[in-house]
Amino acid sequence: MEERPFNDISYERFLSEEKLMGSRCQKCGVFFVPPRVICIKCYGTEMEWVEMKGKGKLAAFTCIAIGPPLMIKEGYDRKHPYVSGVVELEEGVRVVARIEGVDGSKPETIKIGTPLQVEFLHRGEEKNLTTFLTFRPS
């Protein structure tokens, strides 16, 4: 499908193109998101890209009141906590992502198992463009 090396650089570029991609081992069929270059199940080295549908459910989360500089710059603080979570994709693998569309100041309203839909959050421009993998309730 795509001639890109199976690494984090390619994974990030796909995100900026609004694709959530993983690698699938052509020998045993197991797949990994983010991609792995070595299959840790059968040690196969022939990988192919697979695109995730971008649907999943919330497996774990946290509402962060004291964040790193990047998040503070975006306006998050003790009064406005943001949410990071672990999302179990329909395909059966998990990813870590930002969770939008939920209220970080009311953690009791956020439920494990909530169905989620992928969203790509672009920050910066051109060479400095970074895309954050994000999910929100579907």
């Binding site: 774990a60 790193p68 500089p69």
Partner: protein
């Protein structure tokens, strides 16, 4: 695993000491190390000439980043007059000190050295919280950092998964905090050697003296539920679920088993050591356990021939309250999903059937990361030799103690089991 794990020869602990842990404006890494080293020397019953030490292993994680000096092995070796003997720094994030211990054990077990000093040091408090958070994030997975996770955040997320799976809640985490503070109250080396009740009473007293509104907390739980006293850091981790930023150092003296009695009539023997590595949060098979701790435990139990129930006391890596509960299960002390109940029933208290973190743990004793692994063993040394003073556990025939360390977000975990014979 191919074949059974074994040590080439036995290794014994014959001395152990630590500096006070805390936040010190006027003490640097070298000074703290000297404090720990001198105390260690004083604990060797029959004495030791430091010139007999063959090698130094030093756990340290953040000095490159925080004080822009990374090559700490020889600096410490020179400090204590060991040059030109070899000095090796170990890196395993918050388990760095535990790795120094393990490498020291291997160095003696191989027959190469007879006397080895294993240790750790960390100097963190001279940086602001933002810098410390950034520095510690060097030990997280890059995927976690990009998703906004902080260290408390990763453990917070594991807590929500644990709560959902086993029906626990924040109230259960409070039991860990209250217990740790009660233990640390009896430990003069602890950064916070006060109980939660002491802290509450001090705050109430202060409000009265200043003529401010007096908080209406009736007990420790009401204090911990009050978001002004105990604010959210990364929900459900609140301030009192998190270990502090600390400075400190610790030292343990290892010798070959056959010469142990030259140093003391009461040595402790290294009967189990184990180490494992683990994946990032997204790739964990189970969000409520640490695969690295389970592997380390399996290794250590197999080497020692002991079972989890044989371990009478343990120091576990409670960087966050939920971590203590999860470790209790990963080490096999309690079944998966039963750890929080055991804490609630008081089984892990000083007077319980399985006392955990009698020192006050990382939460209260402090967590100068590189010094934590060997610092935990200082507590086990004291307890097994009956030298823990007011916090000595009332277990008859106390012989087996263990210490478990965790580095990063579960990337490196260790278990060490010591025995008094």
């Amino acid at each position: 695993m191919r074949g059974r794990r074994k040590l080439g020869r036995g290794v014994a602990v014959v001395g152990a000491g630590m500096s006070k842990f805390g936040m010190f404006r006027d003490k640097d890494s070298k000074y703290l190390f000297a404090e720990a080293f001198n105390e260690m020397l004083s604990t060797v019953d029959k004495g030791i000439d430091p010139k007999d030490i063959d090698a130094l292993y030093l756990g340290n994680f953040t000095n490159d980043f925080f004080i822009h000096q990374g090559h700490w092995g020889p600096i410490i070796s020179d400090l204590i007059g060991l040059t030109p003997k070899p000095a090796t720094r170990t890196e395993g994030a918050c388990a760095a000190g535990a790795l120094a211990f393990r490498e020291g054990v291997f160095a003696i077990a191989s027959g190469f050295y007879d006397v080895v000093l294993v240790s750790g040091v960390e100097e963190m408090s001279k940086r602001n919280t933002e810098e410390v958070t950034q520095g510690l994030a060097m030990a997280a997975s890059p995927y976690e950092v990009k998703a906004g996770f902080t260290f408390p955040g990763v453990f917070g997320a594991m807590a929500t998964a644990y709560f959902a799976k086993y029906g626990a809640n924040r109230e259960h985490l409070m039991n860990v905090t209250i217990k740790s503070h009660n233990n640390a109250r009896l430990n003069p080396k602890a950064q916070f050697n006060v109980s939660i009740r002491d802290i509450m009473n001090q705050r109430i007293e202060r409000a009265k003296n200043r003529g401010e509104p007096v908080p209406a907390w009736r007990d420790e739980r009401e204090f911990l539920r009050d978001s002004r006293a105990n604010p959210v850091v990364a929900w459900p981790m609140h301030l009192y679920d998190c270990c502090p930023i600390s400075d400190g150092a610790s030292c343990v003296l290892l010798v070959a088993e056959e010469i142990a009695k030259d140093f003391t009539d009461n040595p402790l023997y290294v009967v189990g050591i184990g180490q494992g590595s683990g994946k990032g949060l997204h790739a964990k098979e189970d969000l409520t356990h640490f695969e690295a701790t389970r592997y380390a435990a399996q290794e250590a139990y197999e080497l020692s021939g002991l079972k989890p129930e044989d371990v009478q006391i343990a120091e576990v890596h409670d960087c966050f309250s939920i971590a203590e509960i999860i470790h209790l299960e990963d080490l096999g002390f309690f079944k998966p999903g039963e750890g929080y109940k055991a804490v609630e029933e008081g089984l892990t208290r000083l007077d319980g059937s399985k006392p955990i973190n009698t020192s006050g743990g990382l939460k209260c004793k402090g967590h100068p990361v590189g010094a934590t692994g060997t610092g935990q063993l200082v507590e086990i040394w004291k307890q097994l030799r009956g030298e823990a003073g007011e916090r000595q556990v009332p277990i008859k025939d106390l012989r087996i103690g263990a210490a478990q360390s965790l580095g990063g977000t579960g990337g490196t975990c260790t278990l060490t089991i010591l025995e008094r014979r």
